[in-house]
Structure formats: C-alpha cells, structure tokens
C-alpha cells in the first residue's frame, strides 16, 4: 500500500504579510517557508500508519508543485520521514492546474491513498485534494479528522456540523484532512535530517495545464477603531453597548 501526501510550501504562520508591485504580489523577502501546517499533520499521520506493523503501508511519499527554491521544504518532509519526494517543476498558478499536475503524475505512478491538507495557509484555497479526486475519478472524503485501516478498507471520521460521521471507504481514495488527524506535527530527528539528502527527490517536468483563475491584487484589512475599555465592576455597561451600539445582542 502506498500513500502520497500533497505538500504546499507556505510562509511561516507568524509572518507579517506585505505586498509589492502595487499590491499585486506577495512580498516574500525575509519570509521563512514551512510545510503547510495541515499537510504536515497529514504527513505525520501517514508515517504513523506506515510504522504500525499491523498495516501494510510500504511507502509514504510527498508531492509538491513548485520551483527549485522549494526543495528545502521537501527535504524537511524527507527528514521527518517521507521515503521519497516528487517536485513537479511548475509555478503553482491556481488550484486547478496544481491538481491537474499531481493527477498527471498519479496516472503514471498510482498510489492507493492520497492525503491533502484542508487548505493552504497562504492563498487559502481548499480545493486541490477534491480536484485530484475528480481528475482521477477516485472517491474522496473531506473534513477528515481520523484515518485508520480496517483490513484493506479505511475507517475515517468526517467532521460535520455538531458532530462527526464514521465512514468506511475503499481505496483508491483521496482524504482531505484537517486538525485532529494527528496530534502534533513531527519534529525531525537528527538522523532523519542527515539522511534527507540521501533520499530520492525526483523533479518531474510539468505538463501543459490550462490556468482558469488568476490573482489580480491584494488588500490589507482596514485598521480597526480603538477598543472601548469598560469597567469590570459594571458589566451591564457592556451589555448596553452590545445591544444599542454594536447591535449584536
């Protein structure tokens, strides 16, 4: 059984966001890049499934669409424990083209399970995983908070409003995962870091893919007015303001 984890390369979550060229481009100067937090959790869970001897997972690979500068992020995934990394050499233009590139690889190199994080913390698209499922004509389960094997089938939990559903699914499958899938992302061990360069990082040429959407410009949110400070001894004042000023009660 083989698991493929889709990885996106995003600015560290503490980054102060800035734009350049009249707000049409993200200013990445001085930005530290990380594995998208949800993807990192997905990778962690994939590795847990592989390490559990009861399962027959024999490969966990990661795939990413991006330029050579993102190899550092892929090697981090290898250091954490992925067996192989694949980078499709293309600028990730929109979710449709990224999913199309990954699907093209999958058609040549089949995997049984594909994990994708619920969204990326930069452009906040949330579509790549489900798009891959459609390109591949695979089943898909979204909002997944837990995955385990039951024989050759998978038992997944999907978050729904006010609760969760227990789902049984056959492979091949795309699982779009969210928080809960693994407790914490893994910290790479020293040996893992030293072995990362020895593991395969395959660079594949991109296929021709149409781009359907494009980013036009960015905008920073307007600064909020000053916070009105109220007396802890007179909370009824707050209620009054919530009712009559903010009109939210």
């Amino acid at each position: 059984m083989k698991i493929l984890v889709c990885i996106s390369n995003v600015p560290d979550t503490t980054t102060k966001v800035k734009f350049k060229e009249e707000n049409t481009l993200f200013d990445d100067s001085g930005v530290q890049w990380i594995i998208n937090p949800w993807d990192e959790l997905a990778l962690t869970r994939a590795l847990e499934l592989k390490e559990d001897a009861g399962n027959s997972v024999d490969e966990v690979s990661v795939i990413h669409v991006g330029g050579a500068q993102t190899d550092v992020t892929l090697r981090k995934a290898l250091a954490i424990g992925a067996d192989k990394a694949i980078r499709i050499d293309a600028c990730p233009a929109d979710a449709y083209s990224v999913a199309g590139q990954i699907a093209a690889y999958l058609k040549e190199n089949p995997f049984d399970i594909v994990f994708s994080g619920i969204e990326s913390s930069d452009y906040n698209g949330s579509s790549v995983g489900a798009m891959i499922a459609e390109f591949m004509d695979y089943s898909g389960v979204s909002s997944v908070t837990s995955v385990a094997f039951e024989g050759d089938e998978l038992i997944l939990y999907r978050a729904i409003p006010g609760g969760k559903q227990k789902i049984k699914a056959k492979i091949p499958l795309v699982a779009v995962v969210q928080k809960g899938i693994a407790t914490e992302p893994r910290i790479p061990a020293m040996r893992g870091i030293m072995m990362a360069r020895k593991k395969p990082l395959e660079v594949k040429p991109a296929i021709e893919m149409q781009i359907l959407t494009k980013s036009v410009k960015f905008e920073m949110p307007e600064a909020k007015g000053a916070c009105k400070m109220l007396d802890a001894e007179h909370v009824e004042q707050l209620l009054e303001l919530l009712k009559n000023e903010a009109k939210v009660l």
Binding site: P11, T13, T15, V17, F19, W38, A95, Y96, S121, Y123, N124, G125, S126, S127, A130, M131, E134, G140, V141, S142, S143, I155, A159, I160, P161, G162, G163, K164, Q165, K166, I167, L173, V176, K179, G180, E184, I211, L212, T213, K214, S215, V216, K217, F218, E219, M220, P221, K224, G225, C227, M229, L230, A232, V235, L238, L239, L241, L242, A246, V248
Partner: protein, 321 residues
C-alpha cells in the same frame, strides 16, 4: 446563461447559511441580469423547501432521494454538474462548508470551470469576473479573476447576510440516473453532540484561553454560553493541553469563524488566534493584562480576571431577560 446554487440541508432542514446562499444568489443573478435556480439534494419536505422562498427562491429543483441524504461528493458533484449543463448555468454557487469544500472542486474539474472558495462579497466586476476572498488566514484580502466561461464559487459564512424577499416558489423534482459504483463510501454511524451549538453556525461564541487556569473552571464559560445561546470555543494552548477538545480550537490552524459576537476570555490574542476570528462582527476581550494584543483587535475590552468577570456577565444577562 443562468446561475445555479446548491442549498445544503442537514437532516432535511436548512440553516441560516442556506438562506444566506439564496440571498446572495438572487443578488448575483440580478447583477448578471439572469435567472437563478436553487438545487436541493436529499429528502426535504415541501414546506421546508418553500422556506427558501422567503429569500427570493422562485425556482427550486429538488432531488428528493433518500439514497442521497448523506454527502457523497462524487454523486452530488455529478448531479449538480448535470443540472448546470441542462440549465446552461454559467455560475455555480454553494456555501463554504464541509459539503461545498468537497463538491465545488469536483464540479470545477468536471466543467473546466475556474473556482474560488470562501468569497466575501458579490463580484467586484462581472466582466472580467472578479471576486474578493480572504488570504493569508485573514491577514489580507485577495481579488481573484475567473477566466473560464463557467465559474464556481463558494461563499463564506456571514459574508452577505439574510435579505428577505418573499416570492412564490415553484418546485420541480429531478431524478438523476446514478451508477451504483459512485457510492464507494459508506457512512456507518453518526455521532452528534446534540445539546451543543455548533461553532461554525453560532452567531455568538464564548471562547476562553489559558487565563482560565484550569479545565475545572470551564463551568463559568459554559454558563455564559448557555444564557447567550452561544457556542463555546477555546484557544490553541487550551486544546493542545487537552483541556478542551480540538473541535473547539479557534485560530489559524483550527477553525476560522465569523460570528456576530465573539467573547475572548483570558485569551492573549496571538496572531494565529486573531487570524481565526478577525471576521467576527464584534469582539469583546476580557483579560487581566492590559497590554494583551487581543485588545488591539477587540471592539470592547474589560481588564479583569475572567473568573470574576464571566459570572458577573452571566448574572447581568439573566437579570436583563
């Protein structure tokens, strides 16, 4: 050319987000100077379908099929795409929730339609078709242009609001031809926390952080939430420590929410937390530390111990009822 919107139901009932979807779609259709159709999938009673008319849904296509009560994204996507093609729809809309996230991307691929998720307003321009969405987890906004003839968007909760506009409703039934091989996933059981308000749907959220000092103190958070009819939430350290379940974690890597009113009790307001609540209409912060960054994003602030302030608030609200 028309607009088609998929209104999700939960056990045969619509929610405010479904009505907001209808309001948004009606306004988008008039912006595009065209008609719109609302699609419902799964068993929904006629009366419930008609409730969509309050927000302007004149024409509803209902796939009243019990086999489709639970979400199977492949099946839903196929049905909606079929209808979109049949009706010549150029824009397909759904809510940005667990079903929209699963279905919209599939429709995008099926119809080679550019897709944007979690749109915040009506399109800024329709030719070219440009929509506004959040980026960098609420730290910025992005304008995205969709260039394909068919467009798919999902709309963020509370982005548009409810606009009443009572009309007469016509309901058509549609029975798609479905291949059994599409149903490869099977829902075995469903666990619901019935007495709990869901975070994503709640208009009011009472959220608490490490300032609570111990999980044993959460009673006062729940009491305040109960008198307000609010959902409870928490900050990341609290969920990481296991004081509360991760389904309550609000923030950049947890849930991103947009309630009307958000109480941040004993939450310092780390940048990642703020990213998850910045679309709230009104934020109230309660913290002992007057320098806590949460006051920088709050509309109202109280400097004080949550253990003392929360019970006072609960009492004041009960008294005012």
């Amino acid at each position: 050319m028309s607009v088609i919107a998929f209104a999700k139901n939960w056990n045969g009932k619509f929610k405010n987000s479904s009505y907001e979807l209808v309001s948004y779609t009606k306004n988008l259709a008039s912006q595009l100077n065209t008609k719109f159709i609302i699609v419902s999938i799964g068993e929904v009673k006629e009366e419930e379908l008609k409730s969509l008319g309050k927000y302007g849904a004149e024409r509803i296509i209902s796939v009243n099929n019990s086999q489709m009560n639970t979400l199977t994204s492949r099946v839903y996507a196929q049905v909606i795409s079929e209808l979109a093609e049949k009706e010549g729809a150029s824009t397909i809309i759904m809510s940005d929730n667990e079903s929209g996230k699963a279905i919209a991307p599939r429709i995008s691929v099926k119809m080679k339609a550019g897709m944007v998720a979690a749109v915040l307003e009506l399109p800024i321009t329709i030719n070219p078709f440009v929509v506004k969405k959040g980026a960098f987890s609420g730290k910025a906004f992005e304008y995205v242009q969709i260039d394909s003839p068919v467009k798919v968007i999902t709309i963020a909760k509370n982005c548009f609001g409810l606009k009443e506009n009572q009309v007469d409703v016509s309901i058509e039934e549609y029975a798609p031809q479905l291949d059994a091989s599409l149903f490869k996933i099977q829902v075995l059981e469903e666990e619901k926390q019935t007495n709990r308000m869901d975070l994503a749907d709640a208009d009011i959220v009472v959220s608490a952080g490490r300032g609570m000092r111990s999980p044993d103190n959460w009673g006062i958070v729940e009491e305040l939430a109960a008198v307000l009819g609010a959902a409870t939430a928490c900050s990341r350290p609290v969920s990481d420590e296991g004081w509360r379940g991760h389904e309550e974690h609000v923030g950049q890597t947890g849930k991103v929410i947009a309630p009307n009113l958000y109480f941040a009790a004993g939450i310092s307001g780390a940048i990642q937390h703020v990213a998850g609540i910045s679309r709230s209409k009104c934020i109230v912060a309660i913290n002992t530390d007057p320098e806590a960054p949460i006051f920088g994003v709050a509309n109202y602030g109280i400097i004080g111990d949550v253990m003392d302030v929360l019970p006072k608030l609960t009492k004041a609200i009960s008294n005012s009822k």
